[in-house]
Amino acid sequence: MAIDADDKILQDFLVEAGEIVENLGSQLVELESRAGDFDLLNAVFRGFHTIKGGAGFLNLSPMVELCHHSEDVFNSLRQGKRTVDADLMDVVLQAVDVVNAMFQALRAGRDPAPVDKQLIERLESLAQPAQAPTQRSVASQPAANTDDLTDQEFEALLDALPAGVPAPAVETAKSGQSGEITDAEFEALLDALQGAPAEKTGAARMPAVKSVSGEIVNDPPSAPAAAPVAAENTVRVDTKRLDDIMNMVGELVLVRNRLVTLKAATDDEQMAAAVANIDVVTENLQVAVMKTRMQPIKKVFGRFPRVVRDLARGLGKEVVLELQGEETDLDKNLVEALADPLVHLVRNAVDHGIEGPEIRRAAGKPDAGRVLLAAAQEGDHIRLVIADDGGGMDPELLRRKAVEKGVLDPDAAARLGREDCYGLIFLPGFSTKSEITDVSGRGVGMDVVKTRISQLNGTIDIESEPGKGTRMIIRVPLTLAIMPTLMVMVGPQVFALPLTCVAEILHLDLKKLNNIDGQRVVMVRDRPLPLFYLRQWLNCDGSGEPWPDSGHVVIVTAGAQRVGFIVDSLIGQEEVVIKPLGALLQGTPGLAGATITGNGRMALILDVPGLMHAYGRSARQSEVA
């Protein structure tokens, strides 16, 4: 059957089934911790059942087959014919992955590929009310192809096994008269000795992750009930159209700003009233349009139980993931843009943050590490927290690493404050874990995370305490299209600084500046702060005016860096609609875009990290020279 990706019926199916699969991911992980939850089992069963129904309607045989067998597994489970264990979960999650891959294929207009026979067979065996098939296969493995192992050696291995690691395969092997064990069993033993996950031994050890969020638990059974009813009253709209509408609303906001400014200059009361009216309507419209683009962050959070589960299982750690504030709404584009950075940070928290169970035990912590992922609205911002109760970060270690990697010279490193040290992990090529795991980054990543967040006009802060854990705090604006800024004058030009970057504004006597290494520096609360004349950087000093004796300093932060920009005057705070730069200016370092101010003037929006990157070094060098 040829697939027509534009087919409305297919699209309808993909939307509904896509949501179900998304839910399935978290429901399944949830199930591991509440294996006997009948409602949950039913919900998962129905999930597969519904996808199967739709796939059947569309004659997507491979998907029907796969969902059918998955459904059978859950039918056995809900009838109490067998229980959930980690191996079963691995297979079922694999099935979900395959279903997802099929969706991808369908979206791309391809027929879904036939399902791997092995997966079907594994599902089939799991649907049987028999004992775990893995155990059977290990037990029945012929003793051919063995590495000989003496009984003493074998006993020694057994003794070395850490207590509490269940090893049915070991029992099987031991009961054999020959004292020989198979390769597979030997591997399993070695794995157990090294503290690796015990899956090869066939032990049904419950894996580590569970999500303690109440919402996830309660939601699935009721959500499918509520959502489809609402669906009858909904219209699907291409996001491109929403983007266009948002753009036009942006233009309208600019005109409104202009009108409001003009109104102030006129005495016409009727005009004033009309403008006041349009002011209110525009604002409401802007909010309404923004709302249509809002999505709960759950869309991103939903994937984490699975991510953490797989990761923890792979690393042999125990991790409890706690989700908070999943209902927090934010702009669709933001939700998508945040997905990758969050995945990276959560993986980091599990991989680098949470220690192995032995280390945790030694430190007097519970075996299971805890990772918190929280979202909350804070005014016009969203605050995201990724926290772990792991080992925390050691500023000393970070300093040493930075020097070793040649990122900083020893003196500079020594001068760094504690917080600044944490900021080091955002530098390109900086990785603190000595051995590279295939789990989280290879030294790329954190700098990419930082860049991404900055592109969203967001900030990321780190709090950490050795031995206690690390908190990453991300703040991003609710929407990407409208940005609160600080308007400043530099020479004759108006510039807008994103408010997220602005830490503080000072009025300074510029004659009292220190000069260290050719760098203008001012002491702010006993800490040196490098100062730069924006005028110099932005070539606005053509007028040849003398440097003023006193001036406004805007302290901005970009990553771990904190610098002061000397500006000529401050205009004030203004919400601006970001317009992309024309082709000629596009890509100019340090410029994020342009906007039109209330009085009708063009203002360039500065991209602070970009600006510092582009000018910081060269400016310093030229000044030294």
């Binding site: 089934a17 059942h49 519904t50 129904g53 739709g54 059918h68 009721s222 009930a225």
Partner: protein
């Protein structure tokens, strides 16, 4: 007046597809939709639909319990959508026991390879249930529970029969259960049952009948021998025939031929019985759509056997019995509740 349908399914996708198919039929009108059993009960009260199409697996309240409650509070013909699996068979039979009238496979390909044909048949099934329901409202057909036994008087003795045949389609599972459960365990004749049903359903159905009835019921296997008090159910998707051999009569289970529209088919089984036991068969045609059984009944009558047809009032769908009756082939027209006792008395 168009037949008003309430569509109950937890999948929005499926609701929309069913709605599309049904609304394409000018005689049908989608009155509303419900996403679970609870909503179905509310919507049934609020909309008073003529027919309900009902999914089985749903959150909040499943289809079977919804059927039970709807049939108790506001009886409405219900068409179940089920999957053709063993589990699906059990659930469907539960729904039929709970009072659902008919069922269709959820996968339209299972109704017919030809998608258009599948759609037509879905609409026809819904229409049939709905028209009956409307007729009820207008008082054309007396309700099963009130008007009964109008035709039961004066059943003739039925002589020395060797075999009882019972055939049914829509509404048949419930009707068959009622008839068979009224037969004593020492019923003196063998029975052959033909119920239009998919292959995956008949084993579960036979099992269920066996559990509920005093007589023994099981799915027929090729080579089975007829035994008194033993009922053999024709396997779904195939044909059940009788073959006379020198050492006795055996049951043959054969693959269906392309020309045979129904599998199993009443006509096929009836026809072979007419040849093997001329004049010695008592055949009963129960509720169902279409006219399967009429030609078989004609052969039976031709050989001197007896044919009974279920009466209109007690039929879920008065199709097959009507075909037999209107062709003048029915010796008796008989209400469902009287069939069992009549068989028990006269066999």
């Amino acid at each position: 007046m168009a037949v008003r349908v309430l569509i109950v399914d937890d999948s929005g996708f499926f609701r929309r597809r069913i709605a599309e198919i049904l609304s394409a039929d000018p005689l049908l009108e989608v009155a509303g939709v419900a996403a679970n059993g609870m909503e179905a009960i509310e919507q049934t009260e609020a909309l008073r639909p003529d027919v309900i199409t009902m999914d089985i697996e749903m959150p909040v309240l499943d289809g079977i319990n919804a059927v039970r409650r709807i049939m108790a509070d506001r009886p409405t013909p219900i068409l179940m959508f089920s999957s053709l699996t063993h589990e699906g068979a059990k659930a469907t039979l539960d729904a039929l026991d709970a009072g659902a009238m008919d069922y269709l496979p959820k996968r339209l390909e299972d109704i017919s390879q030809d998608r258009e044909e599948a759609r037509r048949r879905l609409c026809a099934r819904v229409r049939a249930l709905g028209l009956r329901s409307q007729a009820h409202h207008r008082g054309v057909i007396p309700d099963v529970r009130e008007g009964r036994a109008a035709h039961t008087a004066g059943l003739r003795p039925i002589g020395n029969h060797r075999l009882v045949l019972i055939g049914a389609s829509t509404g048949g599972p419930v009707a068959l259960r009622q008839v068979l459960s009224q037969l004593p365990g020492n019923f003196p004749l063998p029975l052959l049952l033909v119920q239009h049903m998919p292959a995956s359903f008949t084993p579960a159905f036979a099992q269920r009948l066996n559990d509920l009835c005093a007589i023994t019921v099981r799915e027929a296997r090729d080579g089975d021998v007829l035994q008194p008090g033993n009922a053999l159910l024709a396997p779904g998707g195939r044909q059940m025939l009788l073959e006379a051999r020198r050492d006795g009569t055996v049951v043959r289970v054969r693959d269906s031929e392309a020309s045979q529209h129904y599998h199993p088919s009443l006509d096929v089984t009836f026809g072979s019985a007419a040849t093997v036991y001329p004049g010695k068969v008592l055949a009963v045609v129960l509720t169902g759509m279409g006219a399967d059984g009429r030609e078989g009944a004609r052969q039976l009558k031709g050989s001197g056997s007896t044919v009974w047809a279920q009466d209109e009032a007690s039929c879920a769908i008065y199709g097959m019995p009507m075909a037999v009756t209107e062709a003048g082939l029915a010796d008796q027209v008989i209400s469902l509740s009287d069939i069992g006792p009549a068989l028990a008395r006269r066999a």
